[in-house]
């Protein structure tokens, strides 16, 4: 029974010209989007690799200079592009691509790609993710708003029920048939995505297949939830027109209104500090530590303790260069300050993101976005992972230089020292990391699927032919 109904609905959907056209348009749009995104990612990766090589070259060929000057000369590192950004660019345009690593200061990533773009970029990007998040639900609405309400208006519902078909069987059969019709649209997209992913060079592409599978799962959950909601509304609405109006309003609220509104409200309730305040506070806290350049009380104290520890009475008698040790200590204290402040700031940003994700119980798109970005590796948590890795590299780089100052006889250094610092190589986190970040979003989606399908099964017996 259910199988017959499902089969009929599947065939009927594909015979509907509007669905065919809608599906074709979406497929073309998403295919083009992924192709262009793939080109962009390839080019972007090449550019960054070239820039990193150039920078490494600069570093190695900076010639003979004071090791401390080299600390101020610093190193630029560039954030690699996540392979799955082919599918979902996420926060990439809005996080910095370049970090300047220098002594004494921890810098944030600078140069947001969105700043080097036209204002029309604020309308959004055409990515496969955006298409599936915004356009695919519309197609589902179009396909299903008349599923039950339209049958009632047409009179075929009466015909069906008069044959002794159970309302729940009818609704389930429709759900399965229409769901399969949507699935046949998704499959080509998944295939194109898989091909694009396979053709991306790079070692970190290997870990991406599991993520890709999970991404597919997340989107399937979302579309399943949308299907459930649409069918429930179609079952309960008195006319097809009412069903369409309600569903379009829900879609607009979910896709257009919710992201901005929730984001704004969360920002209001959990505000980020002003940049000036943040930097001033950090500077003052660092000053309270040891500053290698300007002597002060604390420095004298530290000097006394060190002399005591090594049992000598003058700085020159120490087995190493005291200035180097001083700078190491000052860096250590500064790092503590930076860890504290940046830690707080980043924790706040993550809390804001989590608040937005959990608001997904009201608008499922928020849950999906969060899960999608997390799985693609383009969300804030992944950016933090990179920032932390860059900072680790900076600390190592400064340590190498300061140790040289401590233990070498001469102040100036050459290529052998520059080569001691390895080139920055960033290893993107694995699937477990992504899943732990994506889990709130995935849970929200599961709740939506459960809720909407339960509502559907509860509403089904109430199906009336009048």
């Amino acid at each position: 029974m259910i199988v017959s109904i499902a089969r009929k609905e599947f065939v009927d959907a594909w015979r509907d010209g509007r669905f065919r056209w809608g599906a074709a348009i979406i497929l073309v749009l998403l295919g083009v989007a992924m192709l262009l995104a793939w080109q962009q990612v390839e080019r972007g990766r090449e550019e960054r690799v070239a820039a990193a090589a150039l920078e490494r070259n600069n570093w190695l060929n900076q010639g003979e200079k004071n090791s401390h000057s080299a600390g101020h000369y610093g190193v630029y590192v560039f954030k690699p592009i996540a392979p799955l950004s082919v599918f979902d660019r996420g926060l990439e345009p809005f996080v910095g691509t370049t970090v300047f690593l220098e002594a004494h200061r921890q810098n944030q990533a600078s140069f947001l790609p969105a700043q080097d773009a036209t204002a029309v970029r604020r309308f959004g990007e055409l990515t496969a993710a955006a298409g599936l998040q915004l356009l695919a639900p519309l197609l589902i609405v179009l396909l299903t708003f008349g599923a039950l309400a339209g049958e009632r208006e047409r009179g075929t519902l009466r015909q069906l029920l008069s044959l002794g078909v159970r309302p729940r069987d009818l609704v389930l059969g429709k759900a399965i048939g229409l769901g399969l019709a949507i699935l046949t649209l998704l499959l080509p997209i998944a295939v194109i995505g898989a091909v694009a992913l396979a053709k991306l060079p790079g070692s970190d592409v290997a870990g991406s297949w599991t993520r890709f599978a999970w991404l597919g799962g997340a989107y399937a959950l979302y579309l399943l939830a949308v299907l459930g909601v649409c069918l429930t509304v179609s079952t309960l609405a008195p006319t097809a027109r009412t069903a369409l109006a309600i569903l379009l309003a829900c879609w607009a609220a979910n896709a257009v209104l919710a992201p901005r509104l929730v984001s704004d409200v969360v920002q209001r309730l959990l505000p980020t500090p002003k940049l000036a305040d943040f930097e001033t506070q950090m500077r003052e806290d660092v000053k309270k530590g040891l500053d290698g350049h300007n002597p002060n009380e604390r420095m004298r104290e530290f000097q006394r303790k060190t002399l005591e520890k090594h049992g000598v009475s003058h700085v020159n008698e120490l087995p190493f260069n005291f200035r180097g040790l001083l700078m190491l200590e000052s860096e250590r204290m500064a790092n503590e300050v930076y860890d504290h402040h940046f830690g707080e700031l980043w924790n706040l940003l993550e809390t804001q993101d989590r608040a937005v994700t959990w608001s997904g119980v009201v608008a499922p798109l928020l849950g999906l976005r969060s899960a999608s970005m997390a799985l693609a590796g383009t969300d804030f948590v992944h950016h933090r992972h990179f920032s932390v890795a860059a900072e680790q590299h900076r600390r190592e780089f400064v340590k190498v230089l300061n140790e040289h100052t401590m233990y070498s006889k001469s102040h100036s250094a050459g290529r052998e020292l520059w080569e001691k610092l390895p080139a920055f190589s960033y290893k993107a986190p694995g699937t477990d990391f992504a899943l732990s970040t994506a889990s709130p979003g995935l849970i929200v989606l599961c709740l939506w699927v459960l809720g909407s399908w339960t509502a559907l099964l509860v509403a089904a017996p109430r199906l009336k032919p009048n």
Partner: protein
């Protein structure tokens, strides 16, 4: 007679509970957009005002100090200068680029060429991605939705239910009937939008009725007219109310959601965004080279500019650094130029093709009028670049010659004053956009009328 019929349509609309709900929601969205925009504008201008105040205070102090005794140039330069973009003229209308592009820049003489950190505030990137819920968002994205919700069914539902035949058999002209109905039904939403735009202009600090505000009102009106013309066309050909709703929904999606992203894609493919990492790395390479040739460079420099040679013929560290810096600037110039040219080409393409979707034109125009659009920030960036030259021109000779800054120089101290673009420049852009949207609306309206001409009445009623 027509007036009575118009009011009759309004009365019919007033009987619909859903119409009241829609207007209520829309008013709520507009109010929230205004309020939110006001908060953002306040925060931005506060930051800018504080910086400007501090800069002004420092400048006054400096002039006072100079009147007492001369000061070495290095000490004066150490204070640094700040370039602040004044608050936008109609900031409540749109937040535009203000959350992304910094409205201020701190400059120090010896770091003029290093890639400056262009962060404006500590915003959550997800928040930047989502965009702000400001008045421009409501006017560009939501205003058409609410408008279409009221006017999607002008005659399609009547055709479906059969009352169209009855109405037309009374001997009325279908175009006139539909136009009257469209205007009556659209009126509440149109009025609310215009009111909100007026409030955006009058509620800020300046609060006067100027040309920008009048043009903003015109844009909102014309954008509304466009969607009304589209609804008229769809109703003239649609078979049922549901069909009309679907077609208009699809049109909204195509024009407001898809078309801008397609334009982005096209622009990106034709003129790919230049690589910032490449620019940074090129700058570093040039600076590394120049540093190594430091001494050589300064010798050449003094040979070429003997008037700037220091008295003791011994250049100090700062003079050397400035020479290197200027050399780096020259070396990086071609790369930076290519970078800027590519961005300019992108924006020019967007400017040419913005007419494919009134949503794009309206958004660009609203941000332009508000003063938070691409062009004003670009003007700011360009003026900052010339300010950098101004700073360099003031201090470099003094540092090379090891001269002090005296009270005579007080009037020439570098001080940033933003020059707004002359009115004709932005006026031309805005008027072109308006004309474009009107033309598009006129075409749709004419097509709708053609479909409702008497010869086609037979088709319409069946």
């Amino acid at each position: 007679m027509t007036k009575n019929l118009f009011f009759l349509e309004l009365k019919l609309l007033a009987r619909e509970r859903s119409a009241w709900l829609l207007c209520l929601f829309f008013a709520g969205a507009l109010s929230y957009g205004l309020w939110n925009g006001a908060l953002v504008a306040e925060r931005t201008s506060q930051v800018g005002a504080e910086l400007q105040k501090n800069a002004d205070a420092r400048w006054t102090q400096l002039r006072e100090a100079l009147s007492q005794r001369p000061i070495p140039p290095r000490n004066v330069a150490q204070q640094g200068s700040v370039a602040v973009l004044p608050p936008a003229p109609l900031a409540l209308l749109a937040t535009g680029q203000s959350d992304l592009s910094p409205g201020h820049q701190s400059l120090v003489l010896w770091r003029l060429n290093s890639p400056t950190d262009t962060r404006s505030e500590l915003d959550n990137p997800s928040h930047l991605l989502a965009g702000r819920f400001d008045l421009a968002f409501v006017l560009v994205w939501l205003y058409p939705l609410f408008l279409l919700a009221l006017i999607y069914d002008l005659i399609a539902g009547d055709r479906e239910s059969g009352t169209l035949r009855l109405a037309l058999s009374q001997g009325i002209k279908p175009c006139r009937w539909m136009a009257r109905r469209a205007l009556a039904r659209a009126l509440p939403i149109l009025l609310l939008s215009l009111l909100a735009t007026l409030a955006a202009g009058l509620l800020d600090d300046v609060g006067e009725m100027n040309l920008r505000l009048i043009l903003a009102l015109a844009v909102v009106l014309v954008y509304g007219l466009f969607w009304m013309a589209l609804a008229a066309l769809v109703n003239a050909v649609a078979q049922s109310a549901a069909g009309s709703a679907t077609a208009l929904g699809a049109a909204w999606v195509a024009l407001v959601l898809v078309a801008p992203t397609l334009l982005n894609v096209a622009v990106e493919t034709l003129y790919p965004t230049p690589s910032r990492p490449e620019l940074v790395a090129a700058g570093r390479e040039a600076s590394g080279d120049a540093e190594k040739r430091g001494n050589e460079l300064i010798d050449t420099f003094y040979r070429d500019h003997p008037e700037l040679a220091p008295p003791g013929k011994r250049a100090d560290f700062l003079a050397r650094h400035l020479t290197v810096q200027s050399e780096v600037g020259h070396a990086v110039e071609p790369v930076r130029q290519k970078f800027d040219e590519q961005l300019a080409r992108q924006q020019a393409t967007v400017g040419r093709w913005r007419f494919i979707s009134p949503a794009i034109s309206t958004y660009e125009t609203l941000t332009d009028l508000a003063g938070t659009g691409y062009w004003r920030y670009r003007a700011f960036r360009e003026q900052v670049e010339s300010f950098k030259h101004e700073i360099s021109d003031f201090f470099t000779p003094k540092i090379h010659r090891q001269e002090s800054v005296t009270s005579a120089d007080a009037d020439n101290l570098p001080h940033f004053l933003f020059r707004e673009d002359p009115d004709e420049v932005w006026l031309r852009r805005v008027v072109t956009s308006l004309a474009g949207i009107l033309a598009f609306a006129a075409v749709l309206g004419a097509w709708a009328m053609w479909n409702l001409r008497p010869a086609r009445l037979g088709r319409i009623t069946n």
